[in-house]
């Protein structure tokens, strides 16, 4: 079968049902056996501003999105204005015919500077300053507008007087009809999306019928995607993945203070607070669930989690930049008092409130240095949904094993990207218990009598011991004795050496692709799949490339990375930040600098085409640093 590779953007006003439309599209493709990824972009706004979902569909694993799109579905005029550059020859633009007369000056929800740039473009190319003009511009690039009177078609199908309520369903169904997806799947999707709300399902199915009829009558179908075999899979975001991994890993207590894009994870945990147990276990004996607590602020959230952790409960909190800044002092306490604590840090565009709903990878150096004083910590990062699941289990294990704060980095792009993944096999993921006290009265929480720095841990409710943020003796009482100070510092840092000995390199850094190559990419976080796609594309052009992919930043796998980079011919670092933070970490730990950089800090998701283009500029035109600009 020929390769299927489709790119779709569906856009509309925030709060206008874009998520539902996207979910319909993703699920319909999934039911018909295709692989889907969808990236969500939105403003920090509840209603009205431009939001969109960027999807890619393949009949093989899909790990990135790309421009130009094959179909642009516009549920508002802003979508047409905002995405006028994201098209190419043959792109179908599906939109409400009523939009054509919409003036740019009336599109008040478009950011002022965006509007100005669109205006300048339209003026310089001689087009009118309205949707009609921008469509003319897109047509001049080969795009094919498909005006449909949404209102008329929908009103004919359902007569409840609120046709706009169904515009998202109509847009999604028309997209699927244009691509030749079997209508039965779309109806199945409607049932899955709206649960058992029969009152809602009925009219939505009528709208689906109307969309299919309309497209067939007007001969709008451009593809006929055949059915493929569909396995049993999960459609998950990075937020979902992290939540699932946490409960597999034994999490029973999560705290949070609301913040984008972290709090979705806590909401998901709360929705699934009742846990179901593995088959074959004596389910009468196992009870309980996850307790999720919304704290009064992030300082409280992290310290509550620390308190809970000291009862023997696997505990975590999730936040993003602003909240993490507030947590600094508590991270230091957890380091000093050897508390097994997991902080899931969702990175978004900073500094300050920055780009609250947009992507960024600018908190790596902060995560490595949060908190005053010197103490051991572990910092890891995930690059796709499957990794989010596995790494959340590992984060809890590391915390238990090494008794320290573990910071798990997930970027916003990954948090809000939906991927189709296999159902996690919990039996393949190890859940590790800590070394615990013997329960005797002579227990010393911070005993120096260890070979690996790991003093058996005690728990409130079980042992008597003390914790203090001050330097302490073996029992946990305050000391300023110089000898004890040195020993306790050394004991704490010995745990990091133990960690380096015990954790396999596959969990820290890996080379993907051929062991020797002309070009070696270095990346981390959500660019992983995309860089691998670029590597495949470069291969087709005869350029042999591989990827050094980083997962653990503390303790840093210096020797491994150093070996890889010494052998590499040309290294290109790809990061979603301005100052190439992972490259800095590499330099700090290995002395090796990376000169060629592909960076993006406009907050939008990175796309395959722009990294491909940037790579060629670096490889063939010898440019050093390319800053990526894609994104509405």
């Amino acid at each position: 079968m020929e390769n299927v590779d489709l790119s779709i953007v569906i856009g509309g006003p925030q709060g206008g049902g874009i998520d539902t439309a996207s979910s319909m599209i993703s699920k319909a493709f999934t039911y018909s056996g295709y692989q889907v990824i969808s990236v969500r972009e939105f403003h920090s706004n509840i209603k009205g501003r431009h939001s969109y979902i960027h999807l890619r569909v393949k009949n093989s694993p899909v790990r990135s999105v790309r421009y130009p799109v094959d179909i642009l579905v516009a549920l508002d005029p802003d979508t047409i204005f905002e995405h006028h550059e994201d098209i190419s020859k043959g792109t179908r633009i599906l939109y409400d015919a009523d939009f054509e007369t919409s003036e740019l000056s009336q599109a008040r929800m478009i950011m002022r500077d965006t509007s100005r740039r669109i205006k300048e473009m339209l003026e310089s190319t001689g087009h009118t300053l309205n949707v009609k003009g921008v469509l003319e511009y897109m047509k001049s690039k080969g795009a094919v507008p498909i005006p449909v009177s949404f209102g008329n078609v929908v009103s004919e199908a359902v007569s409840d007087g609120t046709p706009t309520r169904y515009f998202n369903t109509f847009g999604a169904a028309a997209t699927l009809a244009v691509l030749g997806i079997d209508k039965n799947y779309v109806e199945k999707v409607i049932r899955s999306v709206f649960g058992n709300k029969e009152k809602v399902i009925g009219p939505n199915i009528k709208v689906v019928d109307a969309a299919y009829d309309y497209c067939s009558k007007n001969k709008l179908r451009i593809k006929n995607l055949p059915d493929l075999e569909m396995g049993k899979k999960m459609l998950l975001t990075g937020n979902d993945g992290s939540a699932i991994g946490k409960v597999i890993g034994g999490l029973r207590f999560q705290t949070y203070y609301p913040i984008t894009p972290a709090s979705d994870e806590s909401t998901i945990l709360e929705e699934h607070e009742e846990l179901k147990w593995m088959e074959g276990e004596n389910t009468n004996l196992i009870t309980g669930g996850v307790t999720v607590v919304q704290a009064e602020d992030e300082i409280s959230a992290i310290n509550m989690a620390s308190g809970a952790a000291m009862t023997g409960t696997r505990s975590a909190t999730a936040t993003s930049g602003p909240g993490f800044s507030l947590m600094a002092e508590a991270i230091s306490f957890a380091g000093m008092d050897e508390i097994p604590l997991v902080v899931t840090l969702y990175q978004r565009g900073g500094p300050s409130t920055g780009l609250p709903t947009r992507n960024g990878q600018s908190d790596l150096l902060f995560a490595l240095h949060t908190g005053h004083g010197e103490f051991p910590r572990i910092v890891i990062s995930s690059g796709d949904v499957k990794e989010c699941i596995e790494d959340s289990v590992r984060a809890l294990n590391y915390a238990q094993r090494y008794q320290l704060p573990v910071i798990h980095l997930i970027d916003k792009n990954l948090a809000n990207t939906t991927e189709l993944v296999d159902i996690p096999d919990a039996s393949s993921l190890k859940v590790q218990e800590p070394d615990k006290s013997d329960g005797k009265d002579s227990f010393s929480r911070f005993t120096l009598d260890t070979k690996n720095g790991i003093s058996p841990i005690g728990f409130f409710g079980r042992d008597i011991f003390w914790l203090t943020g001050d330097e302490h003796d073996e029992k946990g009482h305050v000391t300023e004795d110089t000898w004890m100070r040195d020993r306790q510092m050394e004991k704490r840092f010995l745990k990091i050496e133990t960690c380096e000995k015990e954790v396999p390199m596959s969990e820290r850094a890996v080379v993907i692709g051929p062991s020797s190559a002309d070009v070696t990419f270095m990346t981390w976080g959500s660019q992983k799949g995309l860089v691998l796609d670029v590597i495949d594309a470069l291969g087709k052009k005869g350029i042999k490339a591989n990827l050094l992919y980083l997962k653990m930043f503390e303790p840093f796998p210096s020797e491994f990375v150093s070996e890889v980079l010494k052998k590499a011919k040309k290294v290109i670092g790809v990061e979603s930040n301005m100052t190439a933070q992972a490259c800095k970490v590499i330099k700090m730990n290995t002395g090796i600098g990376i000169e060629n950089l592909i960076l993006k800090y406009n907050g939008r998701h990175v796309t395959e085409d722009e990294v491909m283009d940037a790579s060629l500029r670096i490889i063939e035109k010898k440019e050093k640093v390319v800053v990526l600009k894609n994104g509405a």
């Binding site: 899955s192 999960m234 597999i248 029973r252 669930g289 159902i423 919990a426 203090t468």
Partner: protein
């Protein structure tokens, strides 16, 4: 033999400090209640007051300045079987930790908050704490206090604490009884303790307080308690508590201002939503067997499966 709850750690409070009396009242209360020291968690923030857990032979957590309440809440919610007692300073609980102080009232987690009210920041050498009156100038202040005064009892009442009391550190007998009642109360307690700091507070000394304090319970008609049986009178009892709370100048009432047994504690509220929360709280759940998770992700997240 009953546990005496004292450690052999050398106490480094100043001679004559009111903190000694609080320590005595606490340990006597624990002994009289016959608490299991392994089931008692002492939590504190930072300050002279923050040192208390080290002097008590029970699991202790001497945490961050102002953050005792979050740590205590985490302990209690992960294991509601624990008795959690927090000792904090007035700077600790009402300045840097004021947000947590108010939030704890909303939660009513079931912890005992003992406020060491000396009106100064003891450990940082006598700056004005939120409980110091406007215009007051203690010997370590370079000018009179330019901040207004927070009323801890009124603030606790307004925030939702379901047991609100005041003690005096030189009346350990009364304070001990208040502590005992607060520990047995199913909900969060605030005990404001008038605590002379002879080193920095030369105005509100032990002698001054001795002349001002009187006991609410000496009035035989005083009933601060709301139960199911008198819940109809809840408003009267609550209002009277506020009126008494505002009495702070010439005479200072001590004793129990308010006790409401009709408002469910946070663990009870959670139990309504999280299955088996009280019978199988987070700390007591098994999470693995032979290194394998007990959780079945497919079943627990069945709504995410497409087939």
């Amino acid at each position: 033999m009953a546990h005496n709850f004292r450690t052999d750690v050398a106490i480094d409070w100043c001679p004559g400090c009111g903190d000694f009396g609080i320590l005595t009242a606490l340990t006597q209360a624990f002994t009289e209640l016959n608490l299991d020291p392994k089931n008692l968690a002492m939590v504190s923030g930072i300050g002279c007051s923050g040192k208390t857990p080290h002097y008590i032979n029970a699991a202790g957590m001497h945490t961050l300045h102002g953050r005792g309440i979050p740590f205590a809440t985490g302990l209690k919610l992960a294991n509601p079987n624990l008795k959690v007692v927090l000792t904090g300073g007035d700077g600790d609980l009402l300045s840097i930790g004021a947000g947590h102080f108010v939030a704890e009232g909303r939660r009513n987690t079931g912890i005992t908050v003992v406020l060491f009210d000396n009106q100064v920041y003891g450990l940082t050498k006598g700056q004005a704490a939120p409980t110091m009156a406007l215009g007051m100038q203690t010997k370590s202040l370079t000018r009179p206090n330019v901040f207004g005064q927070v009323n801890p009892v009124a603030l606790a009442l307004a925030s939702g604490y379901t047991f609100v009391a005041r003690g005096f550190s030189f009346d350990t007998k009364q304070l001990k009884e208040i502590v005992k009642r607060s520990i047995m109360h199913d909900g969060s307690s605030l005990i404001d303790v008038l605590q002379p700091c002879p080193t920095y507070n030369n105005i509100n000394t032990m002698e001054v307080y001795r002349q001002k304090v009187y006991k609410l319970e000496d009035d035989k008609s005083w009933n601060p308690t709301v139960n199911e049986s008198n819940v109809d009178h809840y408003e009267d009892i609550y209002q009277r508590a506020f009126v008494k709370a505002l009495e702070m100048d010439k005479r200072i009432p001590t004793g129990v201002f308010y006790e409401n047994n009709t408002i469910p504690s946070f663990p009870r509220r959670l139990n309504e939503h999280v299955k088996d929360y009280l019978s199988s709280p987070p700390a007591l759940q098994a999470v693995q067997k032979n290194g394998k998770s007990l959780v079945d992700p497919a079943n627990s997240f069945a709504d995410k499966i497409l087939q």
